[in-house]
Subunit: 180 residues, 2 copies
DNA sequence: ACCTGAACACCGTTCAAGT
DNA sequence: ACCTGAACACCGTTCAAGT
C-alpha cells in the first residue's frame, strides 16, 4: 500500500467520523501524525483528494449485475449507485460535487443507456429515462444523508431502502408506458 | 427596509456573483462597507443567514396554481420548486443543505400530499409519490446547477426545462398506473 | 441601533530546507 | 521519497468599546 493510498484511506475514515464539512486538510494531517504541508506531496490539492475519494467510492463498489430484463437492470444500477453513496458519510454530496469526468463513469453511463435502448426506447427516450433515474437516485440519497445521522440504524436503512425501491418502481412504470 | 433585510439582500446578490462556496461572511462585510463582526448584530451565525436566504427563496416565489387535475398540480408544484431554486446561483444546494423546518414548508407539503390523496392514492401512496417527485426535482436541479454555469443561457435553460418536464411526465405516468 | 478594533482558533497552500 | 518549519492569505466568531 503506497503512502498515497494510506493518506486516501485516512481521508475516507475521517469522512465517516466528522462529515464532509469538517473534513479539513489540517485534521487529516493531524490524524496521520504529519504537518499539513506534507499532504501536498501526495495530492496536488484538496480537490484532487476529494476526487480520488469519489473514485474509490465508485471503484470499490461490487460489479453491477448485467442479468435480467431492462427493468431489473435499472433496479440493479440504481441500487448500486445508492449503495455506493451510502458506504460513506455524505457520500451522495461528495459524489455530485466532486465527480470528475472519467472514462469508467462514461462507459457505465453508455452501458446503462444501451440497456434502455435494447428495451425498445429510441435514443432521446433512453437518455431521458437514464437521466431521470439518475436524478432520482441522487436527489433521494442526498436528502436522506442530509437529514439522517450517520451511520443510519439498520431499521432506518431497511425502511429507506423500501421507500427507495417503491419510488423507483413508479419511474420504471413510467418508462414502461413510454414503451408502447 | 430594515438593516437586516439589506444584509440579506446583499448576501443574495453576493451568492449570484461568487457562488455558495465563496460566500463568506468577510466578503459580505466588505461588500456592505463594514467589519465582519458587525454582521452578528443582524444574524446569530452564518447558518442563520443561510437559512434566511432559503426562506427568502421560497417566500418570494409566485403562488403555486391550485387549478387543474392532480397531474397538472404535480407539474405546477414541481415546476415552482425548480424555478425557485434556479432564481439564484447554487439555489438547489442551498435549499437542501439549509432548509430549516418551518410551518410554511410543512403546510405546502401537506397540501401537495392532499392533492395526491384527492386523486385517489392512499396515504402511503401519496407520501411516496410526493417524495419521489421531490427527490427528482432536487436531484435534477442540483446536478444542473453543479455542471452548468450561472446564469445559464436562455437556450440552455429552455432545453433543460424540456428535459425536466419530460422526465416529470415519466413519473406522472408511473403515478397514474398506481391509481388503478 | 449599529459599528469598530482587536483578538481567537481556525482554513488551504507554498516552499526552502532537512533526513 | 517523505517530512518539517515557517510563512501567507484567508475563514467564522466574540466582545469591549465607541457613536
Amino acid at each position: 500500500m503506497s503512502r498515497r493510498d494510506e493518506v486516501l484511506q485516512a481521508a475516507l475514515d475521517l469522512l465517516d467520523e466528522v462529515g464532509l464539512d469538517a473534513l479539513t486538510t489540517r485534521r487529516l494531517a493531524e490524524r496521520l501524525g504529519v504537518r499539513p504541508g506534507a499532504l501536498y506531496r501526495h495530492f496536488d490539492s484538496k480537490r484532487a483528494l476529494l476526487e480520488a475519494m469519489v473514485q474509490h467510492l465508485l471503484t470499490s463498489a461490487p460489479e453491477t449485475q448485467v442479468a435480467g430484463d431492462w427493468a431489473q437492470q435499472v433496479r440493479a444500477v440504481a441500487g448500486a449507485g445508492r449503495a455506493a453513496m451510502l458506504t460513506r458519510r455524505d457520500g451522495a454530496r461528495l459524489l455530485v460535487s466532486h465527480l470528475a469526468p472519467s472514462e469508467a463513469a462514461r462507459a457505465g453511463w453508455e452501458r446503462f443507456v444501451g440497456v434502455l435502448r435494447g428495451a425498445g426506447l429510441d435514443e432521446p427516450g433512453a437518455l431521458l429515462a437514464a437521466d431521470t433515474v439518475f436524478s432520482y437516485v441522487n436527489g433521494f440519497t442526498i436528502e436522506e444523508q442530509t437529514r439522517d445521522g450517520f451511520p443510519q440504524t439498520a431499521e432506518r436503512r431497511a425502511w429507506r431502502d423500501q421507500v427507495f425501491q417503491a419510488g423507483l418502481e413508479l419511474i420504471v412504470a413510467g418508462i414502461r408506458t413510454s414503451l408502447s
